[in-house]
Amino acid sequence: MGKIHKIVLEVKDLHTYYGLSHILFGVSLIVRQGEVTCLLGRNGAGKTTLIKSICGLVPASSGEVWYQGKNIIKTPAHRIASSGVIPAFSDNRIFGNLTVKENLEIGKMRPRSDEKRVIWTIEKIYDLFPILKEFEKRWAGSLSGGQQQILCVAKALMGNPELLILDEPTIGLAPVVIASIGEQIEILKAENTSILLTEQNVKFASRLGDACSIIDMGEIKYQGTFKDLHNNESIVSEYLSV
C-alpha cells in the first residue's frame, strides 16, 4: 500500500435521531479512493442508520458529510445518488415487482468522473453475473436470497458509483454465496471502485477491507487497520463478538 489515497467521503461529528431517540452520537468516518472501508458492528449498533444518513434517507440533526468538496447533509437523497454515492441495502435489496432487467435499468446512470475505471453497462453486468442474464425476464421477487443479493449489488453498479455502499451483503446467505460475493467485491476493488462496507462478519470483512471502523451504541469505538485490530482481541470481543 504505502500510498495514501485521496478522500472520497468524510463524515464529521454526525448526530442522528429517530423521533426522540438519539441513534448516532457524533460519528466521524473517512472513506478513501479505491479502498474498501469497513464499518463493523453488531445488530442495532447504528451501521444502517449511518449509511442512511449519508445517503440522505434519514435526516441528520447535526454534523457534516463531505463529498466532492460539498457538505451534502441537506442534499435530497436522489441528488446524492445521482452524484455517485450509491447504496445497496440489506433490508430492501431489490424491487420485487420489477423484472431483473428492469431492476438493472432503473438504476442506470452515466459515469461522472474521468477516473480510469470500468464503465458499467448491462452487458458488462451480464458478463460478470451470468445468472442475471439467464433470469433477466423473471420477477426479481422470485429469485433466491443469494441471487437477490447479487442483483442488489449489480443494480448499484449500474449507477456507476463513485462510492459504492454495501450494507451487510452477506447477511442471511449461505457460505458458498458469501464466498462468491467476496470474489465480486475483490474484482470491484481491483477496478478502483471506492467501497464502504458494513458487516457483522469480521472474517469476511477483514479479507477485503483496507481501513476499518467499529461502531457500537452509535459511537465509533475503533478506527484503524485490520492488522492492528487482529492484535487487539479485547476490542473484537467487546464490540463484535456475539
Binding site: K52, H78, A81, F89, F95, N97, E102, E105, I106, G107
Partner: protein, 292 residues
Amino acid sequence: MSGDIWISLLIAGLSRAMIYFLLASGLTLIFGVLKVINFAHGAFYMLGIFICYSVVKFTGNFAVAFFIIPLVFGFVLGGLTETFLFRRVYKAEHVMQLLLSIGVTYIIADVVKIIWGVSPYSVGMPEVFRGFFSLGGITITKYNLFIIAISLATALAMFAVLYRTKIGSIIRACTYSREMTMTAGVNVSRVFTLVFVAGTALAGLASVAAAPMTTGMLGMDNEMIMIVFSVVIIGGAGSITGALLGATIIGVVEALAVPVLPEFAEVIMYVIVAVVLLFRPQGLFGKSEARV
C-alpha cells in the same frame, strides 16, 4: 324475459362499469404510489360533469370537452391539489390524509353550488352517438359501445405505460420502496406529482365519458366515491387489473340485478364487498402490502 334483453342489459352494465373503472383506476394508481386515499376523487368527477356541461353549452361541441377536460383536470386540478395540499400530508397519519381529502370534497361541492347552483344539469347526447345498433334482437346504444371502447383502450394504454416504459417501471418501483427508488437517483416527489396528475386526468376522462348518460347534480360525488371505493377494495388496492375486474363485477351485477331484485339493487354491491373481504381481505388482485 328473452335472452336478447339480458345481453342488452349486460352491455349497458358494462358501459357503466367502464365509468367505474376509469375512476377506480385513478384512485388505485394514486393509492398504490402515494399511499393516499383521495376521497375527493368523487368530487373531481362531479366537478368534471358540470364543467363538461358548461363547455358543451358554450362551444356546442362535445369533442372539445372530451379532449380538453381530462388534460385540464390532470394538469391544473391534479397538479395544484398535489403540490399545494396532498404533498404536505404524505408523512402524516392516514386519518389526516382522509380529513384533507374530505375537506377538498366539501370545497369542490361548494364551488359547484356557487357556480352552477343547485339545479341538476345534463349534457345532451352528441349527435354522432345517438341511436343504436341492432343485431338480431339485441340493441346496443352507440354511446355504450363508444364508452367501452374508449375505456378498454385506456386500460391497455395504462398497462403499456406501466409495463413497457421506463417511467412505468419507475412508478412500479415507487410502489415497492420509495427509499430504494430515491437511491436509484429518481426524484420521487416528481413521480408523485405525475401520478396524481395522471389519476386526476382519469377522473376527468370518466366525467366527460359519463356526462351524456348521467345527470349532474350535487350529492352525486358521494354516491360515486362509495361505489368506486368498493371497486378498489374488491379489486385490491393498488391494482389496475383489480380495478378493471372489480368495476366489471359491480357494474354488471348492478345492471342485471335491477330487473330481478329491484329492492336489493343498491345493497348487492356491499354484499359483494363483504364476501370478497371475507375470503380475500387484500382484494382479488391485491398484494397483502398493496403494491401495483
